[in-house]
């Protein structure tokens, strides 16, 4: 059915398109432009602006090409005198009360109204009255400006709010000539995706307040790049002028973002010019050993390599380590692991504080698979806060493609509203739930749901849904699983695959930009790039040479432990901030202080950088080129847009490598793509990745094989005392951190520290909404306000990470299980 082709004639050209295509889109396929205002392919037809009128043979009236499905043997004419008169007429109506303020309008130069008028419009207006005057510019939100005079009531923005965001926050008010775009009671329109209305508004009614009056659109240099905030890797355009950041716009790539970006993408790039940026290399001014003074970055890189080499020489390779970042590009991460493995001979390499391993026991699905599935199972994932564009994709699948959603989580999320089945397990019970599910599906062993917070019949319903599925996509957030339950999940995935008639795949949806890439690039203590286990010494020696280390290295948290005990001497931290983001808080800081050498290579003056003996500045996104791999396994190119005199990271890392190498072995990369080419050669799965192959839409890499062992067993973690509650740290999209600092455009989205309690526990602890409390674990106390919601089951609390200052990770003290906290009233 879907493939059925329809052949018709448009302006004497024969067009063949799938059934159900609108005439306007059919015309586009042969280069015939039918002007539109209200039509937008992602929103579907509305037919309200009447700009797209065409003549269709055998039809008495002109027809709107945007609402009309193609029909066999249809004959469409788009340029007859009748059509031209209608187009002029419609444009005249459209412009009737539209101010002619193009010279001061931000949309100028990229305005469909301007363009259509130029091409099809009357040269002049016959309007003899005062144009309707409406409220001139006003804020629709702190970041969007609304000019009601310019609005042509095409309803694109309000339909976007209804159909895409699905929360009808932006609506049409009043009727007839008085209709206008607005919010409830003139409240601010500040959803997580509000900015897209700017891109789709066909006139200058909705504009980006940040960009207002800053530049003319035609003076901008636009770089096609990717967003660097989360694992969705949405495509966007970075507009600059005279090497200054101007604005971000969406750059549709259906396979990745479906044409949208979230507000963090659009307004979360103030960090490019943040005052908190590290601009130059430095050494610890006093206290520590002064290694060298006022170095250049190049200088500092060479000195760093030499210093680490000296420590390796003295204490052995196991005394040095690397903590990388899931935010780095594939090139950066690849080079760093190579430096530490080949250069320093150690596998002390990691990028995360949770348990995970490369590869999946089932297919790695791309995000577009979500729409073609019939069931999506979301596990421990909160896309709205973690991977916003994934949220839109799931909502679309559910509401427009009839996909069923099942949710398995330890906290309530906005996804529950869309779920056909929503199961909330007790915090920390994930492993047990996975085991129970595995048992229930296989029919082997007992499906034991005791102490999970899930009832047996709920589990049964889920199993039935899974069994009835044809194509199942499983979306899970490995970073939100506790202990080693990821291995239990892997067993579960393998078991789902075993259900006859089920085709399934998974999307490992860790929030960080390049979490998948970091795994693929082997930023792991026990795997080389491409999921090659360290224990496979034969293959490793073949690939990486005789001297390549084959002993498993230390995980990130183990490195911190070893630093505390004085066994780890040198650590290079790349774009990570363990002091704030690692469990342990103060303990992490104390451990780092014990190091003989702490090198921090970062974009910002972080809490960790402040402790470093050597600081290397990283340019990061917006400046440096590189590739990243999104949650769907799609590799894309992230181009820089701004220039800086500081060398890109890949160059800094190769400088370090060359400092260790003999003359003849030195590497000489010309661009980031030279590194990409090496990745293609050296990293299994990346063989097809090249500048060319990823140019348009990116390309999916072959996922690494799954090397997970079996034998996972879930364990209870006992409560230390009667009033203790299990802690779940949740993500908040607009957290006030180094990226969204105090001067951020999105500062209005910052939230106070709130601890979510279950009614039952609140009653027991005699707490009410808005009570000021501290959340306590050991000697760490985090101030928060109580919100009594049923965000998690009794016995647990959810504490969203809302700022670096709040320091929630200081509470976490047990990397293998669950953190117990107490709530004390202040």
């Amino acid at each position: 059915m879907a493939d059925e082709q329809v052949t018709l004639t448009i302006d004497d050209q024969t067009v063949s398109v799938p059934k159900g295509t609108k005439v306007v889109d059919a015309a586009k396929t042969v280069g015939i432009d039918i002007p539109v205002f209200c039509y937008h392919e992602k929103l579907g037809p509305l037919g309200c602006c009447r700009m797209c009128l065409v003549e269709v043979e055998k039809m008495p009236k002109l027809m709107t090409a945007c609402t009309m499905d193609v029909g066999p043997d249809m004959v469409v004419k788009t340029t007859t005198p009748k059509v031209e008169k209608a187009q002029k007429g419609v444009l005249e109506f459209t412009l009737l009360n539209h101010p002619l303020d193009c010279p001061v309008c931000d949309k100028g130069g990229e305005c469909p109204l301007q363009d259509n008028t130029f091409k099809y419009g009357p040269g002049d207006t016959r309007m003899e009255f005062h144009r309707a005057e409406n409220l001139k510019m006003g804020p629709l939100s702190p970041v969007i400006t609304l000019d009601r005079e310019r609005c042509i009531a095409c309803q694109r923005c309000t339909r976007y709010s209804e159909v895409i965001e699905q929360d009808s926050a932006l609506v049409m008010h009043n009727r007839g000539f008085n209709n206008e775009v607005g919010t409830f009671n003139n409240e601010s329109y500040d959803t997580r995706f509000s900015g897209n209305v700017i891109d789709i508004c066909p006139v200058g009614a909705l504009t980006n307040s940040q960009f207002r009056f800053k530049a003319r659109t035609w003076d901008l240099t636009n770089s096609d790049t990717l967003c660097a905030h989360c694992g969705c890797n949405c495509n966007m355009t970075l507009g600059t002028r005279t090497n200054q950041f101007m604005r971000i716009q969406a750059r549709p790539n259906d396979l990745v973002d479906d044409g949208w970006i979230c507000d963090k993408a659009r307004w979360g790039y103030d960090f490019l010019e943040s005052s908190n940026r590290l601009k130059e290399a430095r050494t610890l001014p006093d206290g520590g050993t002064m290694l060298f003074s006022s170095p250049t970055t190049q200088d500092a890189a060479v000195r760093t390599a030499e210093a680490i080499r000296n420590i390796v020489a003295e204490h052995g390779p196991e005394s040095v380590g690397f903590i990388g970042s899931p935010y780095g590009t594939n090139e950066e991460l690849y080079l760093y692991q190579k430096l530490f493995r080949s250069g320093f001979g150690t596998n002390n390499i990691d990028h995360k504080v949770y348990a995970d391993s490369p590869g999946l026991p089932i297919d790695h699905y791309d995000v577009s698979d979500i729409e073609t599935s019939d069931l999506v199972l979301a596990i421990a994932s909160d896309p709205t806060e973690e991977l916003p564009i994934l949220d839109l994709r799931i909502k679309k699948a559910v509401t427009r493609h009839g996909v069923r959603l099942a949710v398995l989580n330890d906290q309530a999320t906005l996804m529950d509203k869309y779920a056909a089945l929503s199961l909330h397990y007790d915090i920390g019970a994930d492993g047990k739930v996975f085991s129970a599910l595995t048992a229930a599906i296989s029919g082997e062993g007992k499906a034991d749901v005791k102490n999970t917070g899930i009832k047996a019949d709920q589990l049964k319903s889920l199993v039935e849904m899974l069994r009835a599925g044809k194509k199942i996509t499983i979306v899970y957030n490995p970073a939100a699983l506790t202990g080693k339950s990821i291995h239990g999940l892997n067993q579960l995935l393998a078991m789902i695959k075993n259900i006859p008639s089920v085709e399934c795949g998974a999307i490992p949806a860790a929030p960080q930009t390049n979490a998948v890439g970091a795994m693929d690039m082997g930023i792991l203590p026990d795997y080389y790039p491409g999921g090659l286990p360290v224990l496979d010494s034969e293959s490793i020696k073949q690939q990486w040479g005789e001297n390549a280390p084959t002993e498993p290295g230390l995980s990130a948290l183990e490195m911190i432990e070893r630093a505390a005990s004085g066994k780890l001497k040198a650590l290079l931290v790349y774009r990570a901030n363990p002091v704030v983001d690692f469990p342990g808080g103060k303990k992490v800081e104390e451990a780092l202080r014990k190091l003989e050498l702490l090198v921090v290579h970062d974009m910002f003056e972080t809490e960790t950088a402040k402790l470093a003996h050597i600081v290397l500045p990283s340019n990061g996104p917006g400046y440096d080129d590189g590739t990243t791999t999104n949650i769907g396994g799609r590799v894309q190119f992230r181009k820089g847009g701004l220039k800086t005199t500081n060398p890109p990271d890949w160059k800094i890392i190769s400088l370090m490598a060359n400092a260790l190498n003999e003359e003849g072995d030195r590497v000489n990369y010309i661009t980031s793509f030279s590194v990409t080419d090496e990745i293609a050669k050296k990293v299994p799965g990346y063989g097809e990745i090249s500048k060319r192959s990823i140019k348009k839409e990116g390309a999916t890499r072959e996922p690494p094989a799954n090397n997970n062992g079996s034998g996972f067993e879930a364990m209870d973690s006992p409560s230390p005392n009667a009033d203790a509650l299990k802690l779940r740290i949740a993500n908040y999209l607009f957290a006030h951190d180094k990226i969204l600092d105090a001067s951020s455009q999105l500062a209005h989205q910052f939230q106070p520290s709130i601890v979510h309690l279950n009614k039952k526990d609140a009653k027991k602890l005699k707490l009410k909404d808005d009570d000021d409390v501290v959340v306590v674990s050991g000697d760490v106390e985090i101030a928060a306000q109580v919100e009594i919601s049923d965000r998690c089951n009794p016995g647990g609390v959810v504490l969203p990470n809302i700022s670096d200052e709040q320091g929630v990770w200081g509470l976490a003290n047990d990397r293998d299980g669950v953190t117990w906290v107490e709530i004390r009233k202040v």
Partner: protein, 419 residues
């Protein structure tokens, strides 16, 4: 003249079930239930009944268009009556609510519908209460609800009030309104018969249309087909208003000359003035000049003289009126009632109103008239729904037929300023 709707309309307490039954009410149900639903549809087809809401679409044919085998299906009775000049449905609802219910039950049985809504304009709050009273009586008597009269057929009927919007009389806007939305019309296709209320197959009929159905079922389609003309069969309620001595709703046989309606039924022109113009089918149809007063009142004859039967509202205008005033008043109405969804209607109605107001207040320029004509041309058949075309009708017909009235006002201005 044969009356099938109004023969007993002024009977005391006709609105009660008791009197309605005494008058032979609800007899149609037993007859209908003895037949297959499809047979009823065929009867209505054979009767030649056409929709009385405005478009005149054959009712039986409309019922037969319902998407096959898709259930549930819905019936929406259009009791929005808001076409200026029209006041016939109100009289039916007020005085004979059970007739409508009987018609709705028959239609539902014929179309295998189990839920019906009566969409009443919000200003009909009192009628809604009357209707609800009748519905309650019908439930109590087993004419509504489960297993009606032991037939195995179930039907629920509910009232639903609008809240002030002419456009909600348009069937797809009505559906949006009934679904709790803004009364903006919907794209067609899909037509309501395929995807109507709640995206399910839906029959939408006017009050008067449904009220005719019991007659057809009781007396056979031939009896109905025998009334009226060759193509316009049956009778029609005509709301006569304006400059007549006896304004009111009159049931006529289709094909009755307009002259007879105005001069015999409605008593002629008030103060014995001269007839200047009449609008035969509500404000949305073109007005015509007095010389066409002998036109038979039926769908084809009125179409032949460039106008339409519409909702059956005959608005009579005498020679004391400058027609610009009429055009202005109606344009003001359409401007007020345009939903604003589509550009030509939203902008065009306002622009026309601005121009007409200028002319009317003596500030018109001679070229305004041509401009008005061109605006009408740019709106005609280019708007999203027929409201836009309706808005054009009074303006364009008044210019074409009473140009002198425009010129007079514009010339007067010139004369005034010359002094």
């Amino acid at each position: 003249m044969t009356q099938i709707l109004f023969h007993n309309i002024n009977k005391k307490n006709l609105h009660t079930l008791e009197v309605y039954e005494k008058e032979g009410g609800y007899k149609g149900l037993k007859k209908a239930f003895a037949k297959e639903p499809g047979e009823i549809v065929e009867m209505v087809k054979a009767s030649g009944l056409r929709g009385r809401g405005g478009a005149g679409f054959p009712t039986g044919l409309k019922w037969s268009f319902l998407a096959k085998d898709v259930f549930p299906r819905y019936l929406c009775c259009n009791a929005d009556e808001s076409e200026p000049g029209t006041c016939k449905d109100r009289e039916l609802l007020q005085k004979n609510p059970h007739l409508l219910l009987e018609g709705m039950i028959l239609c539902s049985y014929a179309c295998k519908i189990e839920t019906g809504y009566i969409y009443l304009r919000g200003e009909f709050y009192d009628l809604c209460e009357i209707m609800e009273g009748a519905i309650e009586e019908a439930y109590a008597k087993g004419y509504l609800g489960q297993n009606i009269l032991g037939s195995g057929f179930n039907l629920d009927i509910h009232t639903h009030l609008g809240a002030g919007a002419y456009i909600c009389g348009e069937e797809s806007a009505l559906l949006n309104s009934l679904e709790g939305g803004r009364g903006e019309p919907r794209m067609k296709p899909p037509f309501p018969a395929v995807q109507g209320l709640y995206e399910k197959p839906t029959v939408i009929n006017n009050v008067e249309t449904l009220c005719v159905v019991p007659f057809i079922v009781n007396n056979g389609p031939e009896k109905h087909a025998a009334l009226g003309t060759e193509k316009s069969k049956g009778t029609k309620l005509v709301s006569v208003s304006g400059h007549v001595k006896k304004p009111g709703n009159y049931e006529i046989e289709l094909g009755t000359p307009v002259r007879e309606i105005i001069y015999d039924l409605a008593g002629g022109i008030r103060d014995d003035n001269q007839l200047k113009a009449y609008i035969p089918g509500g404000s949305s149809v073109p007005m015509v000049t007095a010389d066409l007063v002998d036109t038979p009142y039926d769908y084809e004859s009125l179409q032949a003289i460039g106008t339409m039967l519409g909702s059956g509202a005959l608005i009579v205008i005498d020679d004391t009126v400058n027609i610009v005033e009429t055009a202005l008043r109606l344009t003001s109405f359409y401007m007020h009632e345009s939903c604003g969804k589509c550009t030509p209607c939203r902008e065009g109605t306002r622009w026309m109103w601005q121009l007409l107001q200028q002319i009317h207040t003596g500030k018109g320029q001679p070229e305004f008239v041509e401009k008005l004509e061109d605006i009408c041309d740019n709106m005609s058949f280019k708007c999203f729904c027929p409201l836009g075309d309706a808005a054009v009708a009074p303006v364009i017909s008044s210019i074409q037929k009473f140009r002198a009235d425009y010129d007079e006002l514009i010339a007067k201005l010139k004369a005034d300023t010359a002094v």
